[in-house]
Symmetry: C2
Subunit: 148 residues, 2 copies
Amino acid sequence: MTPAHELRGAGLRVTGGRMALLDAITSRPHSDAESLFRALKKALPSLSVQSVHNMLRDLSDAGLLRRIEPAGSAARYERRTGDNHHHLVCISCKSIVDVDCVEGKAPCLTPSDAAGYAVTMAEVTFWGLCASCQDLPSRTDIPQATHN
Amino acid sequence: MTPAHELRGAGLRVTGGRMALLDAITSRPHSDAESLFRALKKALPSLSVQSVHNMLRDLSDAGLLRRIEPAGSAARYERRTGDNHHHLVCISCKSIVDVDCVEGKAPCLTPSDAAGYAVTMAEVTFWGLCASCQDLPSRTDIPQATHN
DNA sequence: TGCGTATTTTGAGGTATTCACGATAAGGGG
DNA sequence: CCCCTTATCGTGAATACCTCAAAATACGCA
């Protein structure tokens, strides 16, 4: 299942921008639109930030990407979809790492009281200080550059 | 522990705006800044949206409010703090209800692999269709007005 | 009551993202 | 292989949500 096949399978056209985007996200998971734009700009000088947002929305809607929005960060994107994994986010620098599902299956948790909601998924976000930020104790209040 | 005492205890001055804000959030939990602004505007005509954001930030920083940011929604605020409860969010209308902690204690979950992060909290968000939106099956793609 | 300072107002600014629409190019049919 | 249809992309404007700076105001201790 190559990226091109995934696109066609979702009824989407195969374009240079989408291929490059999928490739970039694969090598730098949890990137935001801005950093993906910078990464692609070298190979695709005519690319616009809006197009990156467009592509990210289309590919997310098609299920080729998963979009996550940790509090305090711009939306991040990753290629691992449908496996119900979770995330560990640094309180300080907002770096993100994947965490395999605590329970094993999706949805991995069931609310004690669903209040009439038809629950379809459980999203778990762990918050903590990453190793790099623990080494900068005096500056943990100053967000550092993202390093994921 | 009245709201005024809570404010003083946190080293904050007791102002009409803060008292009104705490009262409004108590009666309409999970409100966003905009709807709180509209609710307070009647009693406090000189109030500005920026002041509401200011107050919400100050009170959240002081621990009198908890701020949550579900994907796709503006920040919401609630008075229940420090009890490690979770949330159930409607995919369609974004309404929110509280869900008591699945495990009972904070942090209620531990990531299987902390990857060097010093984990301090686990945030769980359940997603599903609320009862009202289930009754509008043909329009579930059209977000309705929030009703929380 | 008066003063110092926290808070609010006012206005501008910023970031992330979406929308509208003309230009471009993917890819099926001939 | 070329053409045509239409999805996609580029450009520019617009929006939502929120923060920042500085002047005006008001809380609350003396």
